[in-house]
């Protein structure tokens, strides 16, 4: 190597220069697209959120914080925040807990468990819009299979359950058309679709937990399964949990397909499922109110970036409890 090193050192400055130029050449398409497709739009949204611009108009007026004012004063947008945060606050913890639970059960069963893994992962792969339409059929108030199944319980001992008794007397819920149920049904489908993804991430995390740790814990007196979980598994899964929670949050914030499929107009009964992505679509694209749409976009970006930054901060602190 020494023989090669001498001439290499001699032509080093030119070589370094050449390499730098090639490097910039290789990176430039990516850099250009990064600016054009990711950074410029953020700036554009930021600027437009202070205007009353709409597509097709030649000019626009600056309106200052009016758009943001509206977001925080109108009841429509209050419902938007309530719907979005309800969805995130319900879907994230439940889908993370179910994902963890499923992963622990599947993991403890060994090879047979793989069958469940495959099944639980199916909704992650399936086109959500298609599955949303299937759910809509199943939840149809009269011909849907869910209410038809519930009706089977009428006249049997199962009627002691108040929910079933009420349903048999006054008809079962309209589900998607009922303002008391709509958001919960939406959450249910979000969980149905997403928990398999979390399970797979947890399964990957579990393979990294060392067996010796369990033995050590047993020696130290951790007898019950719960003790072993609390003392070994859960702390070892810390980094996975941080990641799973963050990615679930970001995915939950972006819910759109199901809302648009169920309620193409207006975001559900009494706007109870008027989530942010749908609001951006409805205001910005369908109604051409770009200013208000951009303001929602900016808020959305702030939420998502905030979440990711928290995650990175936690990871850097090396979450090992």
């Amino acid at each position: 190597m020494a023989a090669i090193d001498a001439p290499a050192a001699a032509r080093a400055p030119r070589e370094v220069n050449r390499q730098a130029r090639t490097a910039w050449c290789l990176a430039s398409p990516a850099l250009a697209l990064m600016f054009l497709i990711l950074l410029v739009p953020v700036v554009v949204a930021g600027v437009l959120s202070f205007t009353n611009y709409s597509l097709g108009n030649s000019g626009f007026d600056w309106v200052g914080f009016e758009n943001y004012d509206r977001l925080f004063s109108r009841s429509t947008y209050e419902k938007m925040f309530v719907a979005t945060f309800t969805y995130v606050a319900v879907v994230v913890p439940i889908s993370v807990a179910l994902g963890l639970g499923a992963a622990l059960l599947v993991n403890s069963l060994g090879r047979i468990g793989d069958v469940y893994k495959t099944i639980y992962f199916l909704p992650v792969m399936a086109t959500l819009l298609a599955m949303a339409i299937v759910w809509e059929f199943m939840l149809h108030p009269t011909i849907g299979v869910i209410n038809q199944t519930l009706e089977l319980s009428c006249g049997t001992f199962l009627e002691v359950v108040p929910f079933l008794a009420n349903g048999c007397a006054d008809g079962f819920p309209l589900w998607l058309g009922d303002r008391d149920y709509a958001i919960w049904v939406l959450c249910f489908i979000g969980i149905w679709q997403g928990f398999g993804f979390n399970m797979v991430l947890y399964l990957a995390g579990l393979t990294a937990v060392h067996r010796e740790l369990y033995h050590a814990a047993e020696v130290d007196g951790a007898k019950s399964a719960w003790e072993r979980f609390r003392l070994v598994t859960w702390p070892a899964l810390g980094p996975t949990t941080v990641f799973v929670v963050t990615i679930s949050c970001i995915r939950a914030f972006q819910v759109f397909d199901t809302v648009e499929a169920f309620w193409p107009q207006g975001g559900g009964p009494n706007k109870s499922t008027y989530v942010m992505m749908f609001a951006i679509f409805e205001k910005g694209v369908q109604q051409n109110l770009i200013g208000i749409g951009s303001a929602i976009t900016m808020l959305f970006l702030v939420f998502v970036m905030f979440l990711t930054l928290i995650q990175r901060w936690l990871v850097e602190r090396k979450v090992h409890y």
């Binding site: 990176a27 697209l33 099944i119 086109t127 959500l128 819009l129 599955m131 759109f256 998502v304």
Partner: protein, 320 residues
């Protein structure tokens, strides 16, 4: 052992809930409208011959057609001739429900076109992503240049921005340059995958420098090194990324919904299904479920065949 039974019990209940919509989708796609309405017929339905009312209606003869057919039926009145023709039409238009549902899926809407569009869009997105990300990842991983840290910092920052979140400004920009309702609009926002750059950079970091130095000794240009040395070593990572990218864009509904309006020519599979739903009346549940089945099937089958790869690819974002 008894503990395992409890575990199975819980997991089986979960599996039933997870599989229920898939079961119903398939089942509806086999059944006749009547069976769907009444909720009878088990999984496959009775598969009794049914008559397609639309098809019969189309064959209802008008005055001229009856006049034209008259020589074939000497001595019969017009209404008798019509009855004969309609009886023939009913025979021609009767079919098994499963055939009715799946043929309607392709006839009522240009489903083949939608599927083709889906393939075109997902494949072009993936190729452009690789074309853009791979050289950049190589430069960031293996070349020393002034500003490298800044570029990598930018990549890390851009990872914070989900493309769906900035859909509105992107849509405005595309509308301003007149690109809405084109294939370009469906592909352009996804051409840059910062995640792809990040992933490939991490992978290239593990490739030994000697390999690259040897290639340089052989007189290969840096450009050639990217495609002839780095690309082959990166095949496993690229495969995982391909699955990640293709699944995401085949299933994407939000972005196509924004930039494609009106023209069916450009519809991707989810958009096509959505439109089908929009103008479906009750009797079209079956064909619609057939459409849904056709759209969902390719990825599910691919997943069942190559499970481990798929799970790896989809959970890529979980790798550090």
């Amino acid at each position: 052992m008894t503990r395992d039974i409890w575990k199975h019990l819980i997991l089986v209940i979960g599996a039933i809930i997870v599989l229920a919509p898939f079961y119903m989708m398939l089942s509806y796609s086999f059944k006749s409208p009547g069976e769907i309405d009444r909720g009878v017929g088990g999984f496959f339905g009775a598969q009794e011959m049914m008559v397609d009312p639309r098809c019969v209606k189309l064959r209802d003869p008008n005055r001229d057609e009856i006049a034209a057919a008259a020589p074939q039926y000497p001595g019969k009145s017009d209404s008798e001739i019509r009855a004969v023709i309609m009886a023939q039409a009913e025979i021609d238009c009767s079919m098994r429900p499963v055939v009715f549902n799946y043929s309607k899926a392709f006839i009522e809407a240009p489903l083949l076109r939608y599927l083709l569009n889906g393939v075109i869009v997902t494949v072009s997105i993936f190729f452009v992503q690789v074309l853009v990300a791979l050289p950049a990842a190589y430069a960031l991983a293996k070349l020393k240049f002034w500003g490298r840290e800044a570029v990598f910092g930018l990549v890390l920052f851009c990872l914070l921005i989900p493309v769906h979140a900035i859909a509105l400004p992107l849509y405005i920009m595309l509308a301003k340059v007149g690109l809405t309702n084109t294939y370009a609009a469906l592909v352009v926002p996804w051409t840059i995958s910062v995640f792809g750059i990040f992933l490939m950079r991490q992978f290239f970091m593990t490739v030994p420098d000697d390999l690259i130095d040897a290639a340089r000794m052989d007189g290969m240009t840096e450009f050639a090194i990217v495609w002839r040395v780095m690309l082959p070593t990166a095949i496993p990572a690229l495969l995982a990324f391909a699955i990640f990218s293709i699944v995401a864009h085949w299933n994407d509904y939000f972005w196509p919904r924004i930039v494609v309006t009106g023209s069916r020519e450009l519809f991707t599979p989810p958009l096509g299904l959505r439109e089908f739903k929009g103008d479906a009346d009750g009797s079209f549940f079956g064909p619609m479920m057939a459409t849904a089945t056709i759209i969902v099937t390719p990825l599910i089958v691919a997943f069942l065949v190559a499970q481990r790869r798929f799970i790896e690819g989809i959970t890529l974002s979980g790798m550090k």
